[in-house]
């Protein structure tokens, strides 16, 4: 079920197909960066056009411009041969552009029909959802996008919510559909289903712009691909005339090193032992259901899974942030099931949190203050009730050098750092005290290649020095590169533990809940 192995159903679009959408020399700058630098590309009717690039290459910015969320500083957009200005999403819709954003814009407490009705013109004033429900069912049939129009959004799975977003765009008559990283929240199987939907849309002559950083997906579904790097277009090529390695070269600018580090499966002593762990979600429902796992020293244990299958609650329970409902947690021989985050940290547990800005730092506080966040109430950073900011600054300067954190000064507010430097700051802080157990949640999500590489090296280094690492990631490649053993979480359970080197297809099936 490897996406790349799925047969391409249709031949490539003939080059004679008319251009539906063209962008010419689009430039967009934000303070400090040029997100789009004279970007030029075109999309034809009946074509799936992939937009490939690393995180931060400028893909999403370009799409937000097309959808009227940002205004370009320069350049023009041409639709069906006419130059247009897109000032708002309303304009974009009027020009037949639909968007399925990476983070869905759905009202969680409203029904599917209510969410879709909002964007439709010409619905009835009273009881407008009645007609819309019929339309939804018709479209769902036609494109294979089954969903209950009366269900509330919060009751739906992530892939169902994505269907709602697609239906929303289609019902509004979108002829050009933009999908921003649509597979990042899907299992490989769900992704394959999505590709089938995209092919159906292509058959009807619609244009699809498919944003991704995954090479396999480009090969599987796209007709042509435009590669972006650092805000610029590298090239646009027909998929039939390129290869994965060529695309990879274009995307990152140099040959990707596919060499994998040495494995150390479970050689060290047990560090963390979880026995039949049950943890509740914010809503009081069981989110982690009877997880038992042993993470050894000198081992990286990777947990794969689609977001929302209990990973967050598991991580919070392991770090003392969420009470353990049932079961036992042992760390270094001690029962820590009821320990506070502070006590866990003192015992040598480092936590790289999933939401680095929302949880990992205090954005308006300085780099120095964020560097001592974990240990601010211990010497040398504080003595008695007073803080010692001089030694805090020295400590921060040391971290800045050691982890090459780019900041104008230790006194700079942390929110002014880039995402990669914020993450390096968090890692520096968490790893500074030589932890025995490192719990890292999505540590490289959204970061550029070199920072990702740096963070991977840091984790491997610490593993080799004897730390136990629990790595939670949605990025299968990351898990496969780093983990010595791989566990898969589904529905709150750890449904399988596999050795390193297990192929993507097997893991994918497990992620979709198909037990071995």
């Amino acid at each position: 079920m490897h996406p790349a192995s799925a047969p391409s159903a249709l031949p490539s679009v003939p080059p004679s197909a008319p251009v539906r959408l063209a962008v010419n020399e689009i430039t967009k700058t934000f303070p400090g960066v040029t997100a789009n630098d004279r970007v030029t590309m075109d999309v034809r009717g009946g074509e799936v056009h992939a937009l490939l690039g690393e995180n931060g290459a400028g893909k999403t910015t370009l799409m937000n411009i097309l959808y009227g969320l940002y205004q370009p500083d320069a350049g023009e957009i041409v639709i069906d041969g006419r130059a247009v200005r897109i000032r708002s999403p309303r304009d974009a819709i009027a020009h037949g552009i639909g968007m399925v954003p990476q983070h869905f814009l759905l009202v969680r407490r409203h029904t599917v029909a209510e969410n879709i009705t909002l964007g439709l013109a010409g619905t009835r004033f009273f009881l407008p959802t009645r007609d819309v429900e019929r339309q939804i069912n018709a479209f769902a049939e036609r494109y294979g996008l089954r969903v209950d129009p009366r269900a509330a959004i919060w009751q739906l799975s992530v892939s169902e919510q994505q269907r709602v977003e697609i239906l929303k765009a289609l019902l509004r008559g979108a002829g050009i559909l933009i999908l921003d990283e649509p597979t990042s929240v899907l299992t490989p199987q769900e992704a394959t289903q999505l590709f089938a939907v995209l092919r159906r849309m292509k058959e009807e002559g619609k244009s699809v712009i498919f944003i991704t950083h995954k090479l396999d997906e480009v090969m599987a579904v796209a007709d042509r691909v435009t590669v972006m790097r650092k805000g610029r277009v590298v090239d646009t090529v027909p998929v039939a005339m390129t290869s994965k390695s060529q695309l990879a070269r274009m995307m990152v600018g140099h040959d990707v090193d596919f060499r994998l580090p040495a494995r150390r499966p479970g050689t060290g002593a047990p560090a963390l032992i979880a026995e039949d762990l049950w943890v509740q979600s914010d809503r009081g429902l069981p989110a982690v259901r009877g997880v038992s796992v042993v993470v050894h020293r000198q081992e990286i244990f990777g947990i794969a899974g689609v977001a929302g299958n209990g990973q967050r609650e598991l991580v919070e329970a392991l770090t003392g942030l969420r009470p353990v409902d049932r079961g036992r947690l042992t760390l270094g021989g001690r029962d820590v099931s009821r320990w506070s985050p502070r006590a866990m940290s003192k015992l040598g547990v480092a936590h790289i949190p999933e939401e680095r800005v929302r949880m990992g730092i205090v954005p308006p506080m300085t780099v120095t203050e964020n560097a001592i966040l974990r240990r601010y109430e211990e010497p040398p950073f504080s003595r008695g009730p007073l803080m010692d900011y001089a030694s805090a600054t020295r400590f921060a300067q040391q971290l800045i050098v050691e982890y090459s954190i780019q900041t104008p000064s230790p006194r700079t507010p942390a929110r002014l750092l880039s995402g990669g430097n914020i993450q390096k700051l968090i890692l520096a802080r968490e790893l500074a005290h030589r932890p025995d157990l490192i719990i890292a949640a999505h540590p490289t999500y959204g970061l550029d290649v070199s920072t990702t590489d740096r963070i991977h090296r840091l984790l491997l280094e610490r593993r080799d020095e004897g730390a136990a690492v629990l790595l939670v990631s949605e990025d299968l490649d990351e898990i496969r590169i780093l983990a010595d053993r791989i566990g898969v979480m589904y529905g709150g359970e750890l449904i399988a533990v596999m050795p390193a080197g297990t192929d993507r297809g097997t893991i994918g099936l497990l992620m979709a809940g198909q037990r071995p």
Binding site: P31, G32, A35
Partner: protein, 378 residues
Amino acid sequence: MKQVGPFRLDTGEPSGAWTLVVSAAAILAAFVAAGGIFWAYGLNPIHAYAVIVHDTLLAPGAFPEIFRPTIPLLLAGVGLVLAFRAQFYNIGAEGQLLAGTVAATGVALFTPIRGPATLPAMFAAGFVAGALWGLLPSVLKLRLNVNEVITTLMMNYIALYFVSWLVTGPWKGPSVRGFAYTDQFPASAWLPLIPGTRIHWPTLVLGVVLAAAFAVLLARTRLGFAIRVQGENPEAARYVGIDALRTTLLVMLLSGGAAGLAGVGEVAGVHHKLLDPNQVSLGYGYTAIIVAWLARGKPLATLITATLFGLIYSSGDVMQVSLQMPFRVTSVFNGLILFFLIGSERLLAYRIRWAPAGAPASAPASAVAPSPPSGEDP
């Protein structure tokens, strides 16, 4: 970044000077708007302001009067600064102040404490009462996530009716037939005044000391660090194991306590008895919100902002006496200043720089986040 003529509009950290300029401009604009209201009211605004300036600043004996309302505003305001730093929207300083007056009155009239111990006992009792009055909303907020803005407000009205019940009922002085007062305090419960003025200086000193102490607390202590983390990012506070309940309760004890001290000053330094709540506190607890907001999280800045609003209060007196306007006019000033202050806050995110075309952009280093600036609303 926007180029407007030779100027460039940058976004970034507001500098101290720029904050000062924007705040001063906002206050000025509020005065102009108030002038418009006077004009509509049939009063020549220039004449009105001339009278105000003369009678509050220049007339003999007028200047010290500014400091009478400054004292409660300073104490309550400095407490609110602390609460706001912890992102606790304490709108209840009025009630906490009134709780302080009740406790002080209780000590002065209904305990045997006499002599030099009376005043310290009154201040201590007032602090405790104000602190306790702020406790329920903080517990409700932290345990049940009940919005503190509404609960602290409700507590104000409860305190108001409580005081008014006391002075018409159980505490009504036997010697003041017909009036809703308590008896007058014994002499040992009177605060000393600066000779020739009506400034009860011990309370003023207390306010200055508290402002300095809170500044040190925030900038130099472990608790201050925890308060700032808790206030700026509660998720991060949870992440490092800062006890939100403990931090917020401590903050609210200090914040409510400071307002309670303000109440003690009013009964022991001004009225020497407990009386109708609307006469004890002329809305000081509400005005203190603006005092604290204008101080922008800096306890020492309340020394200036409280004085500014002391000036506005004494202007209110002047307008009542010399211009025959109701005292409520201070509310107009307060409302307008607050509006203009928060309205101008958007400007603080910008800096105007002299940058003629062609000059190299002094763009921040590559360290600056590539995403558009996110909102940092207080």
